[in-house]
């Protein structure tokens, strides 16, 4: 499996560290029900068989956090973006 890094080009996945599903967003600790929200944020996952948006860190490359959209059945990669952009979006959505 090769991950097309926007900075470094396609590189073997062994250069990257995996950090799982990119969907969970850290809840607001001051919100009502924050305890339940944190439990779900830390532990519960959709774990789909199919397209999965996930975090990869290019540890042996450009040191960028990426969001990779990958099919978990075939490893076909549909898209790669910098995680920073996504994070800004997530914050805005909250």
């Amino acid at each position: 499996m090769r991950i097309p890094c926007p900075h470094c080009g396609p590189r073997g996945h062994e250069e990257f560290a995996y950090h799982g599903d990119a969907a969970p967003i850290r809840p607001d600790p001051a919100a009502a029900e924050a305890e339940r929200a944190f439990g779900e944020y830390v532990y519960l996952r959709d774990n789909p068989a199919g397209l999965h948006r996930e975090l990869w860190y290019h540890a042996l490359g450009c040191l960028t956090w990426l969001i990779v959209e990958r099919d978990t059945r075939t490893h076909a990669i549909r898209g790669v973006a910098e995680a920073r952009a996504n994070h800004a979006q997530g914050q805005a959505a909250q």
């Binding site: 995996y18 799982g20 599903d21 532990y43 519960l44 996952r45 789909p48």
Partner: protein, 416 residues
């Protein structure tokens, strides 16, 4: 038919033409008292103990492929009970005790071989960790022995003791650990459950769970609707997908683990050996092949096949432990998709949906758990409450902060 030396001889004299199938090829009925989804080791063992221990025989095991097509037929066959935490040791020890009597119990040769499992250590701190684990085991009444280098040289003379980077300092041995012929476990439980009246239904995929007013009442399958008084899920690797049919999200990611077998050799490896400085473990099958494996690939996968960097990593571990491996040819390798849970421990519990019960999260260590898992899941289904041996494996432990994390890795399924 009961299997024995006489049945074997009788059939041999008849030219082996009169053997009958070991279990019926059951077609689904309209409904059952208990339906179990997943015909792996855990589902079949559950059905067997439901019938045997609780007298509940109106039971179906529903399997989307054939019996043994999942992880029960893909694992590296190791059994042991060398755990550290109090929530784990009694459970795995009961499993080992059930393995010890399994073949008589099932009247089936599962080739249970207590050849020992040996964990090597390479540094003082690792030694301390294994001494602690061994003491924990002994406090729970489990056998554990610390071996020094001279004792190891007698047992496994071929490992690289004087490796410059990772010299071998000793090992923790559990003599009662070993290996079991994995698919024979599926077949043995299927046959024994079938003989007690359980329907083992193959080629029947569950495609939906019918929930009415917060209560599971049956499953949609590729062979029609099947009503269920109670529904138990034992779909290792696919637990998230099947549970999502009832609207549940689980503390699980699916990951692939690879296994490898070499060409057959004369007997060389007397026990199961794990390398302490990298992730590599090896044993030798009765056919002579070296069976080995290492780390999971490390990212969510439903592919049932792994990638090459992991192959390289496993083989490097093997070479560091046992340089003579370099002369051996690899015969085949494969992958299996497993539930990796958030704390590395399993779940045997009720769910928020009434009459829906969950057996999941077995990670890469669920084969050895097969008998005790079936035992405890059957208890849960029959009595509607957790078995004391599985009391730590509750679904709410994550939210409540009572995780059972043997390795202390935190909520990262690919690190367990």
């Amino acid at each position: 038919m009961r299997y024995s030396i006489f049945s074997l001889l009788g059939h041999a004299l008849a030219g082996n033409r009169r053997w009958t199938p070991a279990w019926r090829d059951a077609a689904p009925k309209a409904g059952y008292d208990i339906v179990i989804v997943g015909g792996g080791g855990h589902g079949l063992a559950t059905a067997y103990y439901l019938a045997r221990m609780h007298g509940i025989t109106n039971v179906a095991v529903i399997e989307k492929g054939w019996i043994g097509s999942g992880n029960v037929g893909r694992n590296t066959t190791i059994i042991r009970s060398n755990y550290l935490l109090p929530g784990n040791v009694p459970f795995y020890e009961w499993s080992l005790k059930l393995w010890e009597g399994l073949e008589q119990e099932l009247n089936y040769n599962a080739m249970v071989s207590q050849r020992g499992t040996l964990n090597l250590f390479h540094s003082d701190s690792q030694r301390d960790a294994f001494v602690r684990r061994g003491n924990s085991m002994r406090l729970h009444g489990v056998d554990a022995e610390l071996l020094d280098v001279p004792a190891l040289r007698r047992l496994v003379p071929f490992v690289d003791f004087d490796n410059a980077r990772f010299p071998i300092r000793g090992g923790l041995l559990q003599r009662r650990g070993g290996t079991v012929r994995h698919d024979a476990v599926a077949w043995g439980y299927a046959r024994a459950a079938d003989r007690l009246g359980v329907d083992v239904i193959q080629n029947c995929e569950v495609t939906g769970i019918r929930v009415e007013r917060g209560r599971a009442v049956g499953v949609e399958t590729s062979r029609g609707y099947i009503a269920a008084g109670k529904l138990g899920l034992a779909c290792a690797g696919n637990s998230s997908r099947v549970a999502s049919m009832a609207g549940l999200r689980l503390p699980i990611e699916s990951h692939v683990l690879q296994a490898f077998v070499s060409e057959a050799l004369k007997p060389v490896i007397p026990c199961v050996i794990t390398f302490g400085a990298g992730h590599f473990y090896v044993s030798q099958s009765d056919k002579g092949g070296l069976v080995f494996g290492g780390d999971i690939d490390g990212y969510n996968s439903y592919a049932q096949r792994g990638n090459l960097p992991t192959v390289e990593d496993v083989c490097e571990g093997g070479m560091a432990l046992m340089p003579s491996l370099g002369r051996v040819r690899l015969l085949r390798s494969w992958g299996g998709v497993m539930d990796m849970s958030m704390d590395g421990s399993p779940i045997i519990d009720r769910t928020p949906v009434d009459q829906l019960y969950l057996n999941a999260g077995w990670c890469y260590g669920g084969f050895k758990a097969t008998p005790a898992s079936g035992w405890c899941f059957a208890h849960l289904l029959a009595k509607d409450g957790p078995h004391p041996l599985a009391a730590a494996y509750r679904l709410d432990r994550f939210a409540a902060g009572r995780v059972v994390d043997e390795k202390g890795q935190g909520p990262h399924p690919n690190r367990h």
